[in-house]
Amino acid sequence: MSAGVSVTAMPAQNRGWQRDLIGIAVILIAAMAGYFLFPDNLALLTRMIAIMLLVLSLDLVTGYCGVATLGHAALFGSGAYAAGIAAAHFGITEPITMIAIGAVGGALAGLISGIVILRGHGLAQLVLSIAIIHLFHEAANKASQYTGGSDGLSGISPDPILGVFEFDLWGRTAYVFGIVLLLLVFILLRILVRSPFGMLCRGIRQDPIRVSAMGASVKLTLIKMYVISGLVAGVGGAFNAVSTQVVGLDSLSFTNSAEALVMLVLGGVGSLYGALIGTIAFVWIEDLVSAANPFHWLTIVGALLIAVVLFAPKGLYGTAATLVERYRRGGK
């Protein structure tokens, strides 16, 4: 190997963090706009935040690692139940502690589902993930002593945040708390996906055999990512428990998992912004259409989804990003 290579040949560092600052600013502006434009709809926006965390978490394993799963709500629901049970049965009602407990619960569920789901590939993987979500759902249903079974788990009354900010009737505190959590998670995930570990995961999605030929363990890397994904989904679930003060069996449902995947595809797989935009678009359209036509709203949502998959296969964000890129290159 040649020793004396001129260092001038080395290009400068990418300034990716500048784009991140813009991204964070956009999220903040959107959050404030939501707060002031829809003061009566904060509950919906708060639910949106919880789902965003689930979809971000799904994006980590599906978008960045290429793992196909229809059972991701298992991680979300476990976080929700962990936080809910801690509050309702063990009197742990400090909200930040509840979120932390939810994160741990989600991480454990992530570890378990990762170990099971990663045993298969392709179709087998998908079937295993469906089996996982049904098993979690049934377990929560049977353990009704702790979970309240099909009646749901109630009696969760979180303390004021930091002993100061009480959860109000209009959901203002919950909304702001959610935005803070979302921003925190988003920043940490931006760091993660750009790190060497994130690069290794992207490599696994594109060619696992090449990654193992580099001497890296594909399985171990994916399981690590599953645990991280569980942390994120767990935070989402716990936040849902804190903000709604109930946990229902639907948080551990197949439908919830499938919808999360639909939102991710809608927004664009493999990009954190895509996960956020997909969730907003889906929940917003769902809300709009179901109010306009309560009988056929699912049909309309289905038709829209088919349109996106056919005409913008990279999702809303992915397609927009491609167009901008093309415009920039053409402009030069």
Binding site: M1, S2, A3, V5, V7, A9, M10, P11, Q13, N14, G16, I191, L192, R194, S195, P196, F197, G198, M199, L200, R202, G203, Q206, D207, I209, R210, S212, A213, M214, G215, A216, S217, T221, K224
Partner: protein, 253 residues
């Protein structure tokens, strides 16, 4: 003296078909060996046995005297046995810079880091661009692999192998699929491989083999039928029989 890399009486049969029959060979530091043989001679099976993708029926693979026969492919790479692929296996959406940096980070045990970026690690960046420079890929450092020519993708394949700093490098048809006018690029790259690296090249491009290898091993029907100097290989009766068949005694190649 223990050899750097040794294959000892390797056997493999698929049902009644013996694809690898009692194959033994050894490589020392700095060796440049070519493994050749007609189609169906068992070259690919041999590579898979050595890299750990197939389990031999009997026999051993040794690195510096240590038996690595029971290692999985990943551990063999960590022991210093690195391969390149006959058909490029690269990450289509990633750039050559990212490829090489990832390999370096993996070698250094830093690929599990969850914060920071390789672009902020001066030592990784310097080594990445040293390797890209050696292979004339610097200008393509930030272009996604899906947008660069196949010949250059083959070079990146070699760059990745170099970044792992192997002791033994298995090159599986490094020039396969490259237009003939560009083979010289691959040859130049091969000429720049570190001097103390042991290289085993599997190929049937004779021009390339004879220019590159100091020693030739010929495999036919799963068996080694020749191990010696390239010049002698062309004159060996059995090699001519196996390789050239009826053309063996025709006009000079």
């Amino acid at each position: 003296m223990t050899a750097l890399f040794e294959v000892d009486h390797l056997q493999k049969a698929f049902g009644g078909l013996n694809v690898t029959r009692d194959v033994s060979l050894a490589l020392g530091k700095g060796d440049r060996v070519a493994l050749i043989g007609p189609n169906g001679a068992g070259k690919t099976t041999f590579v898979n046995l050595v890299t750990g993708h197939l389990r031999p029926d009997s026999g051993q693979v040794l690195m510096g005297g240590e038996d690595i026969s029971r290692f999985n492919p990943m551990r063999r790479v960590r022991a210093g046995l690195v391969r390149s692929f006959q058909v490029t296996r690269l990450f289509a959406e990633m750039t050559p810079e990212e490829h090489v940096a990832l390999a370096i980070l993996q070698r250094q045990g830093k690929s599990g880091r969850m914060a920071g970026s390789f672009q902020a690690m001066p030592d990784v960046m310097r080594e990445t661009y040293e390797i890209l420079e050696t292979l004339n890929l610097t200008a393509l450092g930030r272009v996604p692999v899906s947008e660069i020519a196949y010949g250059q993708q083959r070079l990146l394949e070699i760059a990745l192998a170099l970044a792992l700093r192997p002791k033994v490098l298995l090159l599986d048809e490094p020039a396969a699929g490259v237009p003939h006018s560009d083979t010289f690029l691959i040859e130049n790259a091969l000429a720049q491989l570190p001097a103390d690296l042991a290289v085993l090249m599997i190929d049937h491009d004779m021009d390339l083999v004879f220019r590159f290898a100091k020693r030739v091993i010929v495999l036919a029907a799963g068996e080694i039928i020749f191990d010696g100097l390239p010049v002698d290989a062309t004159n060996d009766v059995r090699v001519r029989e196996a390789y050239l068949g009826g053309y063996a005694n025709g006009s000079a190649a």
